[in-house]
Symmetry: C2
Subunit: 264 residues, 2 copies
DNA sequence: CTGGACCCTCCCCCCGGGGGAGGGTCGATG
DNA sequence: CATCGACCCTCCCCCGGGGGGAGGGTCCAG
């Protein structure tokens, strides 16, 4: 039996942290003296403590650590951990994108975004639409695109596009729609004909990873406000060059259009 | 002038977050109506908001973001940001090490650490020693080693070693000492002759990156407790294969010795 | 038996926000 | 001119994963 201090020295976890893990049901001491409240740990608990330590270094929440520890089957446990490793990799990607974007932002005098005003006529397209959470939008998007491509096939007359409610960005949940223009929009599964209304669009093209699009969005916003206009209606995007066209995010090109109207 | 809601839409920062940045002195609205308290932002503030957004994505603390924004000189600002990017890279390394270590830990039935009991005689060596913070120990170590190598040169009769007070791990601050064994320890700058006392050591060898050493430490602890012994005195390490010998962390070998005595 | 090291619980603090209450302000409409 | 809904304000409490410290009990070696 080891006192909490001795156990702390063996595991490099602070005494405080060990007490917290006890309270959280993560690492119960082998014995708790019910008179003095002293915690006594067994040597066998050292490896468990080390697993916890590692998982915490990876910012795995305590609740998830608990779930992992309570999964006895090594295979299932491995899958749980693999999920977190995947999350970490996604985070690394995000970090890299943020670094790249930051470097561009900090360049003195960034080139202002080139914006064009364009009157867009109403168009009927093949579309998949749903109300989604911001976190799920990437997965939803992938599925919707696959279904669209299967339904429209080679009959597409233009690049893939999408529209997104403001609420998706502001409340984290809103309507998203992806479409392919085609002469006779089919009806298959979630794919429906949808008529995009006519609109006057302030249009610009974002080059690069989609994670850095908000810089372009901001430039567009600056232009819109600077030209005494305001925005009404969901944002429209068209994916001129995307992941399926080029593996290099730097080559991606996304056309972004905001429906605007003149004010003042 | 943009209301906080409009500004929020342009920057993809929530209204709440903008108010917080105002309170924190990070992003003052261009105008605050002193009757109604309404915040009004200028279009020019959009780029600033985006820089903040990027920095926050990199988990730069608000105080540091403020410091960066208040540094007008682009060069100095670039250096500040570079510091954070360096921190990020270090963190990535740490993450990778944790992932690797975790994989090993989760392998069923990890090989127990091979421990040897060894009586170490007292030895006088050339050493550099200081009380340091855990966060600074890496930088201090590098400088001390450089000074040692310069003073001892080719006269070293064994690998580089170090000793570390328990307090360094427990309180985050304690005495660290690095040494090179040599027949006639010189006295130069911070380099002094120091006599390491005789001790009985429980010795094992850690293979791999030093960040994963606590697993080996834990194994050593298990062995010590399991053999009815206890630890007294600073931990000793000897760097048999280190970064200067091999670029591959997997090849590094560190001998870890705990001064022990028999109990019970 | 006494001192110091060790252990206990409890409360408040940190960061970077989110949720929601309760109330004031704005501008388009009737 | 009133009214209504959208917008904005402040204030307080919540989260996770701990750290700092107060105030008090326990253990063991000298």
């Amino acid at each position: 039996m080891l006192s909490i201090g001795e156990f702390s020295r063996l595991t490099h976890l602070t005494v405080r942290t060990l007490r917290r893990y006890h309270d959280a049901g993560l690492l119960e001491p082998a014995v708790v003296d019910d008179v003095t409240g002293y915690r006594w740990y067994s040597v066998d608990q050292v490896p468990t403590a080390q697993v916890i330590h590692r998982l915490r270094e990876l910012d795995v929440p305590l609740a998830d650590v608990r779930a992992i520890l309570r999964t006895p089957d090594p295979g299932a446990r491995g899958r749980l951990v693999a999920g977190h490793l995947q999350r970490l990799e996604a985070e690394l990607d995000r970090t890299r994108a943020a670094v790249a974007s930051l470097r561009r932002l900090l360049r003195p005098d960034p080139a202002p975004v080139a914006v064009e005003l364009r009157a867009e006529p109403a168009r009927t397209v093949a579309a998949v639409s749903a109300v989604v959470d911001q976190d799920d939008v990437a997965a939803w998007f992938a599925g919707a695109v696959a279904e669209l491509v299967a339904a429209v096939g080679g009959a597409a007359t233009g690049p893939l596009g999408g529209t997104y409610d403001d609420a998706l960005f502001e409340q984290g949940r809103g309507r998203a729609l992806v479409y392919l223009p085609t002469p006779v929009p089919p009806r298959a599964g979630r794919v429906q004909p949808v008529t995009l209304p006519a609109a006057e669009l302030a249009v610009t093209t974002h080059v690069g990873d989609h994670d850095t699009a908000d810089v372009t969005y901001g430039g567009l916003g600056t232009w819109v406000v600077g030209n005494a206009m305001a925005v009404d209606g969901p944002v429209r995007e068209r994916y001129l060059v995307g992941p399926e066209d080029s593996p290099d995010p730097a080559a991606w090109r996304t056309e972004i259009g905001w429906p605007v109207f003149r004010v003042g």
